[in-house]
Symmetry: C2
Subunit: 119 residues, 2 copies
């Protein structure tokens, strides 16, 4: 069953350079499994597996007409994933700003103490 | 060796709800492995493995002082990952806008042809 709201499966699908390449390719034009296999110098079996992972994550849909299976971008985009990463970036910035402040404070104290140490 | 520019390892690190939870937690405050294990109802061994994956991806750093290993957010943020996803969202929007246009065009033609069919 396709889990449309599952960040686990989408991030796992994105953790492979070939699968990211397939998404980029399908962002430009639909393509058959054979075309994708050729483009990424891969066996049909290997490409079928990658497409299967993308399909499970809801990022790609496929349709078989005759002997050709055509792949397109799925109805699911990556908005949830983008939102998660954006939230993390904000937290990350905040943490490192905090750290900067601590370092600045330490430097300030060090300067203030310096004349005393010389006495 | 840590691969700081490796999207594979960072997306793989993000593909687990506990690891995403750990990053959220460390975005609020540093924590020891023991504290994280407690928070996520996990064994120490299980949590060490998750932290190891995050560390390998450069998203977390750890430091052992005495018997306590403290975890912090790593120096690497998720800007590259955010950029990749943003590019995909743009391609995705463009593809579906194209599709919308095709559907609109078909509808328009259908309407235009309708009176002729009735004749």
């Amino acid at each position: 069953m396709v889990q449309y709201t599952d960040l686990d499966s989408s991030f796992a699908a994105l953790s492979d350079a070939t699968r990211r390449g397939v998404l980029e390719q399908l962002g430009r034009a639909d393509a058959s499994i054979t075309e994708l296999a050729g483009k990424f110098h891969m066996t049909l079996t290997g490409m079928k597996k990658h497409v299967g992972v993308l399909e499970q994550a809801g990022l790609v849909t496929t349709q078989k007409v005759g002997r050709v299976r055509t792949c397109k971008l799925g109805l699911r985009g990556l908005e949830e994933e983008a939102a998660w990463i954006e939230r993390h970036c904000l937290l990350w910035d905040a943490r490192f700003n905090e750290l900067d402040k601590v370092v600045e404070e330490l430097k300030r104290k060090e300067k203030a103490d310096a004349p005393k140490n010389r006495e």
